[in-house]
């Protein structure tokens, strides 16, 4: 029995390897902020959110499958949360009462398995009730199949059969074993046999019985004999105890699987409610196939910045369809990094089937997402800063494949403009030839200008807007790279020659 709520044909695997650049992505895109909002302090929700977001889907079809399910969730939040409580409750009960099945006696294993199975059956009944009550109001393919499966597999005959077993396993009729003679005439291949239906036996039955029966008794005071007999009985019980304990584990694993699959949507619900409360807009994106080049958005904002500031933040528009290279230049602290992070976050959220922080968003999925952000000085002093940067770059190149996206943020700024630009130029040009989409935030005029003069249609240039008088809007506009980064403005802000807008002051601390 599978829920198939995350993929149409498989489970979410929390053991699968995460991308090699997991740590960079978490750090550069501030993903923990997003996951914390989804988890609301729940470790399991956090873990599932992390896995789902870092192992996104590369097929727009599959993304659509999840988007439908998520839309169902957004319209029936109470049902989803109620359903999510079932596996939680089953596992809570188990944890409280059993601490797992471990004992050194088969009859102990058997009796705790029976009790656990009785408890599981109660939870399974709840699940079937929800399916019966709500199935008709869900529209997604995923949920329709799921509810249908529950109603079919957890039908009345299943519950009857299960109860029958739990009764028979109390062995009121004694234990019937089957065996063969092994080496040295020792009994082997013990199996627990099903006791024949009890019939009233008449005297003639016994007389007519062809096969003889031989029997003996262990006397009351034969301790060794009694031990040996119960050991033999245990051999039979051992087998069925294992069967039932494993069955209980199977049900348990079913609940775990269900919890995992629902956890992602609970996380999405949590985030959705939070953003709604802050008045932030979200939209379901339209993903395009990997080989296409699409990147158009309206009102795209950095969801982590919004969550940190606990308020609505400025969004950006962009028309990047058909573009392979986007170079973002302009004023310091003008929202360049924020936009870059927004693009990265939206990409990951889109690919895992979530809504994105924008009014509108469409982009092609990518093979892998990489970030190469400027880092603080290496504290261990093991390598120089440019060494460190190039080393990280080389790691990325080890893993790069066509149709990936690389986000550069002030890369190679640890050397001078000429060298940094040349390194950047060579790397970027090579990436373009390998069909790798590049977003490059830089204050290197020489680097940006070099690409600008090529007048290539695949290139897009965005610039942090600066109104006259130095005021920043945090809006980026299309435009030619300019040769200064307005460091003066920042200087004067810090040293207090001009009074900064209140909005600006808070954003500075967050970027």
């Amino acid at each position: 029995m599978k829920a198939y709520l995350m993929y149409p044909d498989r489970d979410l695997d929390l053991e699968q390897p995460l991308p090699f650049n997991e740590e960079d992505l978490v750090q550069d895109l501030e993903l923990t902020t997003l996951w914390n909002a989804m988890a609301r302090g729940d470790k399991f929700l956090y873990r599932v959110a992390k896995y789902a977001i870092l192992t996104g889907l590369k097929n727009p079809e599959e993304i659509g499958y999840r988007q439908e399910i998520l839309q169902d969730c957004l319209s029936h939040p109470e049902v989803i949360r109620e359903m999510y409580q079932i596996p939680i409750e089953a596992m809570e009960n188990k944890r409280k009462n059993w601490m797992g099945i471990f004992t050194y006696h088969p009859s102990g294993i058997l009796s705790s398995s029976i009790e656990m199975m009785e408890m599981f059956l109660d939870e399974l009944r709840k699940l079937r009730r929800i399916a019966e009550e709500h199935a008709s109001t869900f529209a997604s393919r995923g949920f329709r199949a799921f509810f249908e499966m529950i109603q079919k597999e957890l039908d009345d005959s299943f519950f009857l059969e299960a109860i029958e077993h739990l009764k028979a396993l109390k062995f009121r009729q004694g234990v019937l074993l089957g065996a063969r003679l092994g080496m040295g005439n020792e009994g082997k291949d013990y199996v627990l046999l099903k006791m024949p239906e009890k019939k009233r036996r008449s005297v003639s039955d016994i007389v007519l019985r062809k096969k003889p029966v031989y029997s003996f008794h262990i006397s009351e005071w034969d301790d060794a004999g009694a031990r040996a007999l119960s050991e033999l009985k245990d051999r039979g019980i051992n087998l069925v105890a294992n069967a039932l304990a494993q069955s209980a584990d199977h049900v348990d694993s079913f609940f775990r699987m269900l919890q995992t699959e629902l956890a992602f949507y609970i996380g999405c619900l949590n985030l959705y409610e939070k953003l709604k409360e802050m008045g932030c807009q979200v939209a379901f994106p339209s993903p395009a196939p990997m080989t296409e080049r699409k990147h158009s958005f309206r009102g795209l904002y950095d969801v982590c910045l919004a969550l940190t500031m606990k308020q609505k933040v400025v969004g950006n528009d962009g028309r990047g369809d058909g573009k392979e290279l986007v170079i973002i230049t302009g004023a310091n602290q003008g929202g360049k990094s924020t936009l870059l992070r927004g693009i990265g976050l939206a990409q990951l959220m889109m690919e895992c089937g979530m809504f994105v922080p924008a009014d509108e968003f469409s982009a092609n999925v990518c093979a892998h997402l990489f970030t190469h952000f400027k880092r603080k000085e290496d504290a261990s002093m093991k390598s120089g800063k440019l060494d460190e940067e190039l080393n990280r770059m080389s790691d990325i190149v080890n893993h790069l494949i066509p149709h990936s996206i690389v986000l550069f943020n002030e890369s190679f700024a640890s050397t001078n403009e000429r060298e940094g630009s040349e390194i950047g130029r060579q790397i970027t040009s090579a990436f373009l030839d390998r069909h790798i989409k590049v977003f490059f935030v830089t204050h290197f005029y020489e680097f940006a200008h070099n690409f600008y003069i090529q007048r290539d249609e695949r290139f897009l240039f965005l610039r942090a807007e600066r109104k006259s008088g130095g005021k920043r809007t945090f809006k980026l506009i299309e435009g030619e790279p300019l040769s200064t980064s307005f460091g003066e403005d920042i200087y004067s802000t810090v040293f207090g020659n001009t009074s900064p807008a209140p909005e600006l002051a808070t954003q500075e601390s967050a970027t």
Binding site: A162, L169, L177, G184, N185, L193, K194, A226, Q246, S253
Partner: protein
């Protein structure tokens, strides 16, 4: 029947003498005690020590073993023999078990297993070697013997009956009904396996592998209850069990003495082969030496100390091989050079090769020609014995005297750093006297010494030197090379490295 005495000996008398052989006195000096211990470990039951303690003094005897050893290089044959040996281990184990058992049906059951294993062992080997190409007199004779044995009426009848009884016992299926203290035993009547039914009910929840809750129940063997159950089974099937009883009475001594002897003796080859195959895997070579008792020339190439090599292989350390060669009138190898440079190892190697050759075994080295000596004498530096009041020097002389008294021109002498407890002048004087005696004797000798003069004292001597890296004298090569002793001590090598030798200082200081 084809006659076959032994796979190790041509002569019954020598075979019988070998049983009481003690470890030769020189074993510890040559580290042969370590190597042999390693070879026979895990084979205690075969009592192989006497064979390894019995050097052969007859060329034809040695060839008899070399032929067998060469035949055994065929992995097909080796496989057959190993399979035979494994089965024979079971034969003995099952027979040994019977003495510890109480119940008749149990004992007879294991007796039957022992006969079955024996039949498999003998028939398997007879069939296995029937089509293998053999050159050795020993294995050819064995093949003839086995062919006659396994086709003998007596053997065939015994095995046919054993297998028939086993087949019938195996086909018995019975049921045990345990209720309270009562046990009923009857034939199996196709009752279904209940564990499987339980499993089936809950299998739909399975998500993946789960823990195995099977407990390990019951020891090997049979309790009184199990014995009573088997007694009941015997009553259910009386013909089968009485046939078993008759069979056991009729075949109390079923193992053929020649087969038993071969099973033990062949382990001599297997033990050695197993030991050297580990060394071979490390790239070391072994070869069958040409053995002569008339030609007094000896040589070996790429040879090594097997005890040291065995340790090195275990620690994955490299092993250095060495060559030696004594021509027509050369008898004495004098080894000099820096300490810890491989001199003692070289001396041991010389002794080991001659000893192993006299066992009819392959010796370390790519190619070897050895002299079949009448005795090996060693004198290695020993801890001073305080009970010995004669003092160290006197003790040395007494031991040397003993050796010279018994040694003949066919002996091999290995002397390692003798006379170290006296002045260089005394040591030189005494050594020269001893060397004259050895030379007179015309025996082979390896002499490790720090006295350079000895290397060229005699026409019969050959000088060999343990060497160091020319440009870094701190590093020993462990190569012992035939060349005149250079008379330069180790300290000079170090001075050279710092360009402080006489010539270097002259060169550095312009004259």
């Amino acid at each position: 029947m084809t006659s076959f005495l032994s796979i190790l000996f041509l002569d019954r008398e020598i075979a019988e003498q070998a049983e009481s052989a003690e470890q030769p006195a020189y074993f510890p000096d040559l580290n042969l005690d370590q190597a042999i211990k390693e070879m026979i470990s895990g084979r205690q039951d075969y009592r192989l020590k006497p064979y390894f303690y019995t050097p052969l003094h007859d060329i034809d005897q040695i060839l008899y073993r070399q032929e067998v050893g060469k035949d055994l290089e065929n992995p097909l044959l080796m496989g057959e023999i190993r399979a035979f040996a494994e089965q024979m281990v079971l034969v003995r184990r099952y027979l040994g078990l019977i003495d510890q058992l109480y119940f008749k049906n149990h004992k007879e059951g294991w007796f039957l297993e022992s006969v079955l294993a024996y039949g498999n062992a003998v028939e398997g080997l007879a069939a296995g070697i029937s089509s293998v190409e053999l050159q050795s007199r020993g294995l050819k004779a064995l093949r003839g013997y086995l062919r006659d044995y396994v086709t003998s009426d007596q053997f065939c009848a015994m095995m046919a009956e054993a297998r028939k009884i086993k087949h019938e016992l195996t086909s018995i299926q019975y049921c045990i009904h345990i209720k309270g203290n009562g046990v009923q035993v009857r034939s199996y009547e196709a009752e279904p396996d209940y564990s499987q039914e339980v499993e089936q009910t809950f299998l739909k929840f399975k998500q993946g592998a789960v823990k195995d809750y099977h407990l390990k129940i019951g020891r090997a063997g049979m309790s009184s209850v199990e014995a009573q159950i088997v007694d009941c089974v015997a009553k259910l099937y009386p013909e089968i069990f009485s046939a078993l009883n008759r069979f056991c009475q009729a075949h109390l001594d079923f193992i053929d003495e020649t087969v038993r002897g071969f099973d033990r003796e062949i382990q001599f080859y297997l033990a050695y082969d197993e030991f050297i195959s580990r060394l071979k895997q490390a790239g070391l070579k072994f070869s069958y030496p040409r053995v002569s008792n008339t030609e007094k020339t000896v040589w070996a190439y790429e040879a090594f100390d097997i005890a040291l090599a065995n340790q090195c292989v275990a620690l994955a350390l490299p092993i250095v091989t060495n060559d030696f060669e004594l021509g027509e009138n050369e008898r004495i190898i004098v080894v000099t050079g820096p300490n810890q440079g491989g001199k003692t190892t070289f001396a041991r190697m010389f002794g080991q090769i001659h000893y192993l050759a006299s066992l009819g075994l392959p010796v370390p080295g790519q190619e070897a020609h050895v002299f079949l000596c009448d005795q090996i004498y060693t004198h290695f530096e020993k801890e001073e014995d305080i009970r010995n009041l004669r003092g160290k020097l006197q003790d040395d002389l007494v031991r040397i005297h003993e050796i010279l008294k018994h040694a003949t021109s066919d002996s091999i002498l290995i002397l390692n750093e003798i006379f170290t407890s006296t002045s260089l002048k005394d040591a030189a004087f005494l050594s020269k006297r001893v060397m004259e005696d050895i030379s007179q004797l015309d025996a082979f000798c390896v002499w490790v010494t720090f006295i350079d003069e000895l290397t060229s004292y005699q026409k019969k001597t050959v000088s060999m030197v343990s060497t160091v890296l020319p440009d870094n004298p701190v590093i020993r090569t462990f190569k012992v090379i035939r060349k005149p002793a250079d008379g330069i001590s180790f300290a000079i090598h170090i001075a050279k490295k710092y360009r402080l030798t006489y010539e270097q200082i002259k060169e550095r200081i312009p004259g």
